[in-house]
Amino acid sequence: MSTITFDVGRLARSEVRARPASPFRDVVSIAGRALRAVPRELESVIPPIFIALFFFIVNIGTLQRLTESHIRGFDIKAFMLPTAVMIGVTGVSRAGALVMDIQGGYFDRLLMTPVKRLAILVGHMVADVAIAFSLTIPILIVSLILGVKIHTGPLGVVAFIVMAGLWSLAFAGFGYAIALKTGNPAAVNSSFLLFFPFLFMTSSYVPRNQLSGWLHGVAAWNPVTYVLEGQRSLVTSGWHATALAQAALAIAVVGAISMSMCLAALRGRLRQG
């Protein structure tokens, strides 16, 4: 049997008064909570990194002889590094945690505080980017161990990681939009289906000019194609403005779409109360 005891006399002496926090502080507070949850939810980060490394190594073993013997100067390890990273960071987000907050009522508690509404979303996304960075680094380390050389040097590594993080964020927006729109964990999980067309109807396994027929056409419209090509340029050939600009544009377009959906879903959720 639980009992409740209070010492209200001490509370009466408090002069504390609430005041609005800055947007930056709001974002840091929400992101901090999201990041502190990660060690308790390793199931949300271990599988992505395992799958990424698994495909990285297996694909190299499967395709090395075939590709390197048929394509002059082709380095399958360097080629597969961006693919592995994209597999690792695409779909990694705290949208699942957000939907649990909605279902459990904690989202309402946040909304009843003076926290800026957008900061709730941005805080989660900042955490996502940090997680994406931290997932990219071990894959990069494994690739360096396997002998991959990053042509653009340390600055290129930084650009590579940033690109992975931003792509992860752009894709995560779809999960948040579904989370806010539906408040349903199953629906959020179904956003994973987007992963397949994005990651496999593109130049994940062979260069775009080796794709044939309809897949070649689809890959030309798939933004992931340009992100992969931008990252590959950093790894294999150097600073190519066109490839990097196209990658940035692809991320921006996907991000603009997903974030617009997110904001609309957030507005709807706030209206719905």
Binding site: S2, T3, V8, Y106
Partner: protein, 330 residues
């Protein structure tokens, strides 16, 4: 008109969902330092009203102010001044209690020393002890309620909303909670808006009670005034069957103003209970064997029955009568 003495005010407050009014032209005027009980059955509109007043929902009609600020146009100002413990403890089960309270303090703009001070005060206040360092998922239901209350108080709010605070608590915890609500009100002069479906709770705690049914405020006043307003005493006869003939027999008894069957009880309203109870016993004699006959003063449930034709415990929003507000007392 809003005055400095007004903590919560609503004028014709409406909130509808797809054209169905969950809150229908509700007027409230709650003074600072008052405990206001908002009483009604499930689905009557209590929680929707709280969600509007706490800025979670925008009103679709009318206007409401809390702590002097408009809930629709100045929601940030309202949020700074209210604490809310909703019906279901709104907690993150994976956080520890201390992490939740710290985050809550940060979101209210408190500095680290202020948060530390408040944590010291609140950890004594809610008596959770070492459990504050454990994940909330490991807490009992009562501990979650206490932590939820602490989270509502971390920024020292002016107005505290408690949405069915004792639902699910055992009787001892419920009684303790009542005492602490009184102390929060008495010693901190905190205005408390308390929704409940427990008649006894509203009776025990509230300075004034508003009774809501089908989204409309149907009566408002002190518990004593509300009960006095229906004027009648209540005679309860526990009988073994024969409800129909018993009701017929009671209709002819002088002083009886109404009778209804509730389970195995006949609830008889009488202008003068002591003078009528004998006649009721005689009328039932030979028609329905009476096991128990008691005389009592009206309860808030009787008030609700008088106003809506339903009991609070069995009513639902679908009952929706068109009731007019009954103003009672000073």
């Amino acid at each position: 008109m809003h005055t400095n003495d007004t903590a919560i005010r609503a004028d014709g407050l409406v909130r509808d969902f797809a054209g169905v009014a969950a809150v229908d032209r509700v007027d409230l005027d709650i003074r600072r330092g008052e405990i206001y009980g908002f009483l009604g059955p499930n689905g009557a509109g209590k929680s929707t009203t709280v969600r509007v007043l706490c800025t979670l929902l925008t009103p679709t009609g009318g206007r409401a102010t809390v702590a002097g600020f408009d809930v629709a146009t100045q929601p940030q100002q309202v949020r700074l001044r209210i604490g809310v413990a909703l019906q279901e403890a709104a907690l993150d089960p994976k956080q520890t209690g201390i992490a939740l309270l710290r985050l809550q303090g940060r979101l209210y703009g408190l500095s680290k020393p202020e948060v530390d001070d408040r944590l010291t005060e609140l950890s004594k206040l809610i008596d959770i002890g070492d459990a504050l360092g454990r994940p909330i998922a490991t807490y009992s239901g009562g501990m979650k309620r206490r932590l939820d209350l602490a989270a509502a108080l971390v920024h020292n709010p002016e107005v505290l909303f408690l949405d069915e605070p004792t639902t699910g608590l055992d009787p001892v915890s419920r009684t303790r909670m009542w005492e602490e609500v009184r102390r929060l009100n008495r010693e901190l002069e905190m205005t408390i808006f308390l929704t409940t479906q427990y008649l006894e709770e509203a009776d025990e705690l509230a300075d004034r009670v508003g009774i809501i049914n089908a989204g409309r405020l149907v009566a408002e006043g002190t518990p004593a005034d509300l009960k006095r307003s229906i004027g009648n005493d209540v005679i309860v006869a526990q009988v073994d069957g024969h409800d129909g003939p018993a009701l017929d027999a009671l209709r002819g008894v002088s002083g009886v103003t109404g009778a209804e069957v509730r389970g195995d009880e006949l609830i008889v309203s009488a202008v003068n209970g002591p003078a009528t109870i004998g006649a009721v016993a005689v009328a039932l004699n030979g028609i329905a064997p009476v096991r128990h006959l008691t005389l009592r003063t009206p309860t808030l449930d009787d008030v609700f029955l008088e106003l809506t034709g339903n009991r609070i415990e069995s009513s639902h929003i679908e009952t929706g009568q068109d009731n007019d507000l009954v103003e009672v007392g000073a």
